[in-house]
Point group: C2
Chain length 225, copies 2
DNA sequence: GCAAATTTAATAGTATTACTATCATGTTTG
DNA sequence: CAAACATGATAGTAATACTATTAAATTTGC
């Protein structure tokens, strides 16, 4: 297990909590078990009441940390994208060729993280599954605009923008870098989901890097002159 | 207004209704006003009770047509994809070159239908907005597999498969036709949504065909040798 | 043209959800 | 050691996603 340098804290956008959950034991339990339970039950079946029961606390106490379960989900995805941005920066350090950088960025997105990093209450593997399959619920509501104004998608946008910049470096005349990258990110999530549940919509290969290969090829062919 | 030949009925997969809503006045009202209300309120805020009030009927009566509001949504999306398949067949009639066929298929997907077709209780413009922004809720639940076994996605899969076949015609060695097309379909929906709510994730152009152009270019570059 | 069958409406009820409010107890801290 | 704060326990509200029951209206089959 690698340890994170413990002075690192992500700049998570907005304030989607009432009280910083990392500031107390109860808060940390909410994060850890909340992530696990959303992963197991799905977001719809997940409730603060059930979470309270599981951590030997109660509903009302959890509401002191998060105003609603939607804000909890937004908080988790923002944290995830802040983490991904950090990982991206690490993955690209000392890589000079923009092609290689773009390749690595796509690889980072396409890989499910394995939990060999000690992040305590944030279990990355589960969290990434949640963001994969549940987080579009945080923007597919009529309240997107409100959430967006509150900063819900800043970390996500920052990530997209960072990768789009690499695209521009490779081909400054390409007109749709943001669209390409947001399509790739959501496409990766969707293809993973399809692979598991609706395989006829995919072209699964033995080689389990096929999603990464598919999108890498797509991106490079698309942006080449 | 064009009239549909009135002997046409789509083969809608599965049986996501208890009683055929096209067989009665009440059923037709449920379809028409249900579509409108989901479009206006969003699926989460939409309830059978509200629908009942609006059409001067009541909750219990609606439950005789649809077991739940999720099945109602699945029914609507299946109908939509059956309709899209029909439209696709029309759009491709007498077009011989596979390149032109693929181009037209993408154009069909990228265009919001204008309601100049007399489909009575199915208002296409609203329905397409629903499928665009709400229908992933029909697969982003833990019950996907069950829904899938019940045939929920047959019409969608058929559509994907039809378009993938064109890709194969153009380049039979291309390994990921289904992935490419399912990525494009969901990508179009997402980019439309982003254009409206999170424009920084897109590259909106004055020209309002930019989504179509972006995906057309992406597809053709990707599948070319 | 009328009885039987079916469809709908009206009402009520259940379990659960997503919260809010209140109050008492325990813990931290200045 | 008191004041401030965090938690727990309990209760309550309005709404949701249904189900059950009964009665009225409409359709249909003969």
């Amino acid at each position: 297990m690698q340890k994170l340098p413990n002075n690192i804290r992500f700049q998570v956008s907005g304030s989607f909590y009432l009280k910083d959950p990392e500031s107390s034991e109860l808060g940390k339990k909410i994060l850890k078990h909340g992530i696990r339970m959303i992963d197991e039950l799905g977001f719809d079946e997940f409730t603060f009441r059930k979470l309270g029961m599981e951590i030997g606390s109660n509903e009302a106490s959890i509401y002191r940390y998060f105003e609603s379960k939607y804000k909890f989900l937004i908080f988790l995805s923002s944290w995830y994208w802040a983490w991904m941005e950090y990982s991206l920066i690490l993955a690209l350090t000392n890589v000079n060729s923009p092609e290689k950088r773009l390749e690595r960025a796509i690889a980072l997105l396409a890989h499910e993280p394995n939990d060999n990093l000690d992040l305590e209450h944030f279990e990355l593997e589960k969290l990434s599954r949640i963001v994969n399959s549940e987080s579009s619920k945080s923007y597919l509501t009529k309240e997107v605009d409100e959430a967006n104004n509150g900063g819900a998608f800043i970390n996500y946008k920052q990530f997209v923008s960072r990768v789009s910049d690499i695209v521009k470096e490779i081909n400054s005349r390409y007109k749709y870098p943001n669209m390409l990258i947001s399509t790739v990110i959501e496409g990766i999530h969707l293809q993973r989901f399809f692979a598991e549940h609706l395989p006829r919509l995919t072209n699964k290969q033995k080689d389990n890097l096929y999603i990464q290969k598919f999108f890498t090829e797509l991106v490079f062919k698309t942006i080449k002159g």
